[in-house]
Each structure stands twice: as C-alpha cells, then as structure tokens.
Symmetry: C2
Subunit: 234 residues, 2 copies
C-alpha cells in the first residue's frame, strides 16, 4: 500500500512555508491558529504542528502563549546566513569533485546555456532558479545528505528576498563565466581550483549583495563591510 496522500500538517506546512518565502506572508505578520484552521478546513492540531515545524526551520518565531509571527530577518542575519553558506558550499564543492560524473557535467553545461538564454530576455527570476539548480546539482553529487540539506535550507531562507540578480544585472554575466570555470575545474577533477573558484564567486556575490542592500536602502553596508574584512583573508 502506498502512502495515499500527504498528511494535512505537511500540506499546511508547505503552504505556509511557500507563503513566507514568496512574501505573501510578510515578516511580523501574526499566524493565528484558529484562523488558519478555518482557512485550510482542518482542526488546530495539524496547524500547530506545521507552525512548530516552521519554527524549527527559523521561518516563524513562536512565543509560548503569545503566538507565532513570521520571523523578521534583518541585514545582519542575512549576512550571517550568507557567510555560513559560503563556508558550507565551499566544503560541499570540494567534497563533490570526486563524485561528479559525465551526466552531471553534461547537465551543468546545459543549465548554463539555459541561463545565457534567459539573461537575454531579462528573466531574472528564472535566472535565480537556474542558478540555484546549477549549484545544488553539484552539492548533491557527493553522498553527504546532511550537508546538502543544510545548504538548501540556507538557500531557501535567502529566497525570502528578491534575487540578487534582480537588482544587480551585471552579476548575471559574471555568474555565467564563473560557472564555466567551475565546470572546467570539475572536469579536470581539480579540487583546489574548484574550491578557490567557489570562494571567489561567493566573494563577488557578497560584494554585489552589499550594493543590493544599499539600493534597497535596507541600511548602510558597514556591518557587512566589516564582516567581509574579517572573512576576505581566507
């Protein structure tokens, strides 16, 4: 017997999660269980379970007896997540090198071509999606599921903001070139080169991110600047 359908708590969890990532549910917004139960035509129990799970993921902040609100993330947390991602993605790339096969390489090249195509059409939302797929494919090659999951979770936490590419279109062309270099390194199984490239790319992305945050006037980039000073020597 196959599992017929998803449990309701999972269903609600996914709906709310998507809502938070897409921005339908805004930071600071309160999640009232009774209201959600009515909306999704279920009782409060599954709703509660979904919310507690979102809390574990960091998407909502839950205070006992006070309720759940969509977590507000400030620029500092954004930088923190990004720094962690840089670290873990560098590790994952390094570990993936010996496991990359021909199928992976063909797939990666194809995705990169697709990215070129959408750039010309200024479809930056699609570009972000393809970029994510490109990188996750690399990380998934290595048999380290826990690392993979951590990275994809951090990536998704990042998706709560409009893609960096949306604001810094120049980054897009750079990314394509960098992807090509990464593919080369993977092809020649050059661990250190792949590692360096990944770090280099992330460094550039972080710089782009600074501009991005200035443009959205999310605040001055001093904090990030300072963080980067400490990180850049690596």
């Amino acid at each position: 017997m196959k599992p017929k359908g998803k449990t309701k708590n999972l269903l609600v969890y996914e709906k709310l999660r998507q809502g938070i990532i897409k921005g339908t549910l805004k930071p600071g917004q309160k999640l009232v269980m009774a209201a959600l139960a009515k909306k999704y035509k279920t009782s409060e129990t599954p709703i509660r379970e979904a919310i507690r799970r979102l809390e574990s993921d960091g998407y909502v902040t839950f205070t006992p007896h006070a309720g759940a609100v969509v977590t507000e993330i400030n620029k500092q947390e954004l930088s923190e997540i990004y720094l962690i991602r840089i670290s873990l993605e560098a590790l994952a790339t390094r570990l993936a090198v010996p496991f990359i096969n021909q199928d992976d390489l063909i797939w990666l090249k194809k995705k990169n071509e697709e990215m070129k195509a959408v750039i010309e059409k200024d479809r930056y939302d699609q570009l972000a999606r393809l970029n994510k797929a490109f990188h996750l494919r690399i990380y998934k090659a290595a048999p380290f599921p826990r690392l993979y999951k951590m990275i994809s979770n951090l990536w998704e936490a990042f998706e709560r903001w409009p893609s960096v590419f949306t604001y810094i279109p120049e980054r897009a062309a750079d990314a394509i070139r960098e992807h090509e270099q990464i593919i080369e390194a993977l092809e020649s199984a050059d661990v250190d080169r792949a590692d360096d490239l990944m770090k280099e790319q992330k460094k550039k992305s972080l710089e782009a991110l600074q501009q991005y945050m200035v443009q959205r006037s999310t605040g001055s980039p001093e904090m990030l600047e300072e963080i980067w000073q400490k990180q850049a020597r690596n």
Copy 2:
C-alpha cells in the same frame, strides 16, 4: 509577570533529548507516545510535539502512521557531521577574533588550567565537558547566533558517542597545548593564525577519531580516510 515554568512539551523534549544523547535511549528504539505520556504524566499532545521537534533536530526518525524511532547514526554520518563542524568552527573562530575581550581570555585560560587538572585524575568525561565549554565560549563571542546554534547542535549530535578522549587519552595532552596556542592567537588578534590552528586541531582530532572508531570496531576507517584525503589539502 515572569514565565512560571517550562511547558510540558519542552520538558519532555529535553528529557528525551538527554536520554538519546546520554545513550539511555538506544538507536533503533521505538518511542511509543502512549507509553511516554504515561511515564511523564501528561497527555499525548505534548509528547507528540516533543517528538516532532526531536525529528527536526535529527534525533529521531518519524514515519507517518508508523511512529518514531531513535535515529541510528553510522560512521559515515559521524564523519559528515565532523566535516561540517570543522568548516563552521573555523569560520566561527575567524569571526570571533575581533570580539574576544579580556574577560574571555581570562576565562579561557582558567578553563584550560582546569582541563590540565582533570587529565591527571583521568576524568575524561569532565574533560570533554570542559573542552566543549572552551570552544563554545570562543564561538559565542561573535554576534552570530545562528552560526553558534548550528555548531552547538552538531556538537551535541556528536555527544551521542562517548568522548573521543575516553578512547584516545593521548589526544588530551595535545588538546591542552593547542588550546594554549589558540589563546595566544586570540590575544594577538591574529585571525589567520587562529584559523589555521583551529583547522590543525580538527585535523588531528579527526585522525584520533579514526583510531577511536577502529578501537570500537565501528567498522573500517577507509571511508573516513578517503574523505580526509579530499579534505586535507585545505
């Protein structure tokens, strides 16, 4: 008005978590909600919540309609966790350097002295506790709560096995020396040196871990060896 007491679900969560970490609850053991509800004199609802939370943490594996069992962790996962920890701890150390103050340094020196004392008494369980406190103090100095939490979670996941020190007493003396070097680097605010030392220490620990696993005949260390080959070039 102060929060009077912990909620029951939190209480049960902590009890079970401790049980799993300490080894009272063995891998593969089934967690039956009705039984737990009886044991902790509460209803099944809080038990359920606690279990789902443990699932998010990776301590139990929960299959819908089938129940929860304490997660079995094999040596491969152990290595994976360790590799992730190395990465994140190196990052955390680097980020912590500018935030370490005199109080921290005094505290770190004191802890290291305490460690020397317990080594002579062969109290390796206490040594592990002190070692953890030593490192976490460093990581906590920097204002990156998410990174800190990730590291401490991984550390605790590791505690499901008896401390490395218990099996490789020689490591203990090494650790003391390495701690002293780390303190020096922190004192002179030498980011790169602190970073290198941390990586060096973790490398040695991983080697010790290999021996440890051989001794406990948890399996041959080829996997780890292979992983380390890929990682060591860093």
